[in-house]
């Protein structure tokens, strides 16, 4: 009755073994999407289209880069939407008071500071009050929403992005590649550097696996928690300001449609929602996959209703394919 599981042999298998299964599956899905799409719309296979998609993906990518570190800890940041919106409102408002000059120069730093501050509040609540991150960050989200509604009187916020924000989002400084992609790459490389090479990265994975053991190994776990939330808040702010630059304005609830895709991109990329496992390459795959999917749906002129259904359905199906947790065993 003893059966040996046949394992694939040879050099190809060796390469496959090194690559995470979720990364591979997501990659295959991406290829399938591109080819299926190109069968109906030939322009899909052009560099222009793909670059444009990458530019759109970079907003999601920046957010997912932040969310991933928090999810690796076994926590979650549900304040993404309004950290995103809030940073955009702060930055455009400062820039709107006077088009150029010191206040406009302070726009981007102020947006970043806003994100970091929200992240700090998230991190302090989770690390020191030990509030469940899900409800704590949800509350933070509600708080920023409340402040923003109160401050803007519920109308569209006034103001405009600075030249720099516009340029960072839609300009093409080098090689005719949109700058937003460079922003994503910079944050992504930083995240990979942290996760792969530094003790901090080791501690993040360790906390995700077992916080008590990490703490008792003499690691300052609370600082690690706070760092990751600040990082996530800052990434959300960067995303918000990029979108404000792209859309040439900030608007209420501009971050709301990004929450599900951000978390889904991280999880579809193979990061375990309970923490401790995941690779950044997977997150990149998840981001590209979801961006392409929603682009295909809009190319097909699908209504909002259909898009939501297909979007949610694809996430569930993909997770059913490979994202399953272990069965409880004694």
């Amino acid at each position: 009755m003893v059966r040996h599981v046949l394992s694939p042999q040879g050099p190809a298998a060796a390469v496959l073994k090194r690559v995470d299964r979720p990364v591979l599956v997501a990659f295959c899905f991406i290829l399938a999407l591109i080819f299926a799409g190109s069968a109906y719309f030939p322009q899909v296979l052009t560099a222009t289209y793909l670059l444009q998609q990458l530019q759109i993906a970079s907003f999601l990518g920046v957010l997912a880069t932040g969310a991933m570190l928090v999810i690796l800890l076994g926590h979650i940041d549900l304040s993404i939407p309004w950290t995103f919106t809030g940073a955009a409102i702060v930055a455009t408002a400062l820039a709107g008071i006077e088009g150029t000059g010191p206040l406009a120069l302070a726009a981007v730093p102020a947006g970043l500071a806003f994100g970091a501050l929200v992240g700090l509040a998230n991190g302090l609540g989770v690390a020191y009050l030990r509030a469940p991150s899900m409800i704590w960050t949800l509350g933070m989200n509600a708080l920023i929403l409340g402040i923003s509604v109160f401050y803007t009187g519920g109308f569209a916020p006034t103001g405009a992005p600075t030249e720099f924000m516009r340029a960072a989002s839609v300009g093409r400084a080098v090689l005719d590649i949109p700058n937003a992609i460079y922003v994503w790459v910079i944050l992504g490389v930083t995240a990979v550097f942290i996760l792969k090479l530094t003790p901090l990265g080791r501690y993040i994975y360790a906390i995700g696996n077992r916080e008590t053991a990490t703490y008792l190994s003499g690691v300052r776990t609370r600082l690690v928690l706070v760092f990751c939330f600040v990082w996530a808040g800052t990434c959300s702010a960067v995303g918000g300001m990029l979108l404000a630059g792209y859309a040439n304005q900030a608007y209420q609830a501009m971050g709301d449609p990004y929450l599900l895709p951000t978390i889904a991109a991280v999880v579809l990329g193979g990061t375990h929602i309970l923490g401790g496992r995941g690779t950044y390459s997977g997150t990149v795959m998840g981001v590209v996959l979801l961006t392409l999917l929603s682009s295909m749906l809009s190319v097909m002129q699908m209504q909002e209703a259909g898009r939501q259904i297909i979007y949610g359905g694809v996430i569930i199906v993909m997770l059913l394919v490979y994202g399953r947790g272990g069965k409880i065993q004694g």
């Binding site: 009755m1 003893v2 550097f193 090479l197 530094t198 003790p199 080791r202 501690y203 994975y205 360790a206 696996n209 077992r210 008590t212 053991a213 990490t214 703490y215 008792l216 190994s217 003499g218 690691v219 300052r220 401790g276 496992r277 065993q329 004694g330």
Partner: protein, 516 residues
């Protein structure tokens, strides 16, 4: 009920059972049988296959090969409830009570009194009271949450839970480990009654004295194989131990140094107090010394070590390290070069290790600062350090990139200890480090402890095993209700003295006894 022929025929029979996890054979071609009207002890080191065997019998684990017969009929269990319905009920080593349910809910968790899936709470409560009385827990309110009971009471409630299921085969896996001697006597009384009623009882324990007291039959397992089954009285304790480990153990404990070091103490504790769990504890320890913490379970020994490691808040009193006043507000401060403290926590699986992470990552988590190149971890230095530790502690591991969960218990514990060798800790706090570890590895750990002490480490060693205190320690502090009750040194350290002091018997009693 006690029909002779029926009692002699095997009741639960397992033939040709095999089970492997990955490349590890937990059980190989095992034939095993137990009879009704019998208390049958199953013996073996950790990893011998006892746990897997009973998990198969109880339906928790499915065997790779082999058949199981119950009263002559072939059976196959996919889940624990299927085994329970056939009358095979297990009291597991890890407590299986649901903490937030009431005691009554726990006792009747699968078959509550009532109809159509609705619970008759009143009847459930009455029947729970009766069962609690039977296991000697009349004082427990059946409506109390299981979480709020002390460990020993919970273990008795587990037994009541098993009885509620009307077992034909009752399996007890280390079910007495948290009980006091009086509770154990009560449990034995119940077990004998149940045996006389015709149950087949499988009893797994590491305590030889208990087995001698209760078992009719013994089966010894080693390395996943069934070695021998024999009537309990037929073999001496030494023979059984020999059978379990498969080789002679000449000298369990390393020799102590002739004279205890009288050097300046490296660790001085004065009037350490924490809530009502630690009261004015004062203690000193010198480099090269192994200082034991003894006493009954739960007298503040764990809290003392946790306090020294910075894991408790609101600790009062002073701690001096190498003569300097030390501030220890967190484990991170405790392990700093200035303090140089390390702690081996009590539960290695949840407090000592990140189980899904690699052996390598677990070994270096505490000492990454020692293997940096600028701001990044130097993989060459990390690798070299890991290889060195694996070799020095003889950690049996295929690939250091494998998950630490894939190692055996003893080797896991070696990883927990090894990670503190990286930080070059000078003060080691050990919390029951040999619990649940097989005899062979224990001996290696004893050797390592003495070696570290000889190299100049100061060791505080808490263990619940009096034999270890006697064998390993240069001095022993007995704690009672959070205070130091007595200190023994040198030849005074004997099992008898330690037991006496632990029970808070007066010193005259001790000396009289020693005289008599």
């Amino acid at each position: 009920m006690s029909d002779r022929g029926g009692a002699d025929a095997p009741f639960l029979e397992m033939v040709g059972i095999a089970k492997h996890y990955g490349g590890v054979h937990a059980l190989q071609d095992v034939d095993f049988a137990c009879r009704r009207h019998s208390i049958h002890a199953v013996l073996g080191e950790n990893g011998a296959g006892k746990s897997t065997l009973i998990k198969i019998a109880a339906g928790v684990v499915r065997p790779d090969a082999g058949t199981m017969r119950l009263a002559g009929e072939e059976v196959r269990f996919a889940t624990p409830p299927e085994a329970m319905r056939q009358g095979i009920v297990c009291v597991f080593q890890e407590l299986s009570l649901v903490p937030d349910l009431s005691v009554a809910d726990n006792i009747f968790i699968t078959q509550p009194p009532g109809k159509w899936g609705f619970i008759d709470r009143r009847r459930q409560r009455r029947r729970a009271e009766a069962l609690l009385a039977r296991v000697g827990c009349e004082d427990i309110d059946p409506l109390e949450r299981a979480r709020n009971l002390p460990l020993s009471r919970r273990q008795l409630v587990e037994l009541a839970t098993a009885l509620a299921r009307d077992p034909k085969v009752l399996i007890l896996d280390e079910a007495t480990s948290a009980l006091t001697a009086r509770d154990v006597d009560a449990v034995f009384r119940i077990l004998r009654e149940l045996r006389d009623e015709g149950l087949a009882i499988l009893y797994i324990s590491h305590r030889m004295t208990e087995i001698e007291a209760i078992a009719d039959t013994c089966s010894v397992f080693r390395n996943g194989r069934h070695i021998e089954t024999f009537p309990q009285a037929d073999r001496s304790r030494d023979e059984i131990v020999h059978m379990m480990i498969g080789r002679e153990i000449s000298q369990v404990y390393p020799p102590k140094p002739a004279a205890a070091t009288n050097g300046t103490p490296s660790l001085e504790i004065e009037n350490l107090t924490w809530q009502d769990r630690l009261r004015d504890i004062s203690l000193t320890a010198a480099p090269g010394e192994i200082v034991g913490l003894g006493g009954l379970d739960g007298q503040g020994q764990r809290e003392l070590l946790l306090a020294l490691f910075g894991a408790l808040r609101g600790v009062r009193g002073t701690v001096r390290i190498d003569g300097r006043r030390a501030r220890i507000g967190s484990p991170a401060q405790a392990k700093s070069t200035r303090n140089g403290i390390a702690m081996i926590p009590e539960d290695r699986k949840t407090e000592g290790l990140m189980l899904p992470m690699s052996v390598r990552e677990n070994l270096t988590i505490a000492g990454l600062s020692k293997m940096m190149r600028h701001v990044v971890i130097d993989p060459r230095r990390e690798g070299a350090r890991v290889d060195e530790l694996v070799e020095r502690l003889n950690i049996r591991v295929g690939n250091v990139r494998d998950a630490v969960a894939s190692l055996s218990g003893g080797n896991q514990q070696k990883v927990v200890i090894a990670k503190w060798l990286v930080t070059e800790a000078r003060i080691l706090l050990l919390m029951d480090p040999t619990r649940g570890i097989d005899v062979g590895t224990k001996q290696e750990l004893y050797g390592l402890m003495r070696q570290l002490a000889d190299e100049g480490a100061t060791i505080l060693f808490y263990t619940s095993d009096y034999d270890e205190l006697v064998g390993m320690c240069d001095r022993v502090f007995i704690l009672y209700q959070g205070a130091v009750q007595h200190v023994f040194a040198g030849a005074e350290i004997s099992e008898r003295n330690i037991v006496r002091a632990s029970l808070n018997l007066s010193l005259e009693d001790v000396s009289e006894d020693a005289a008599g």
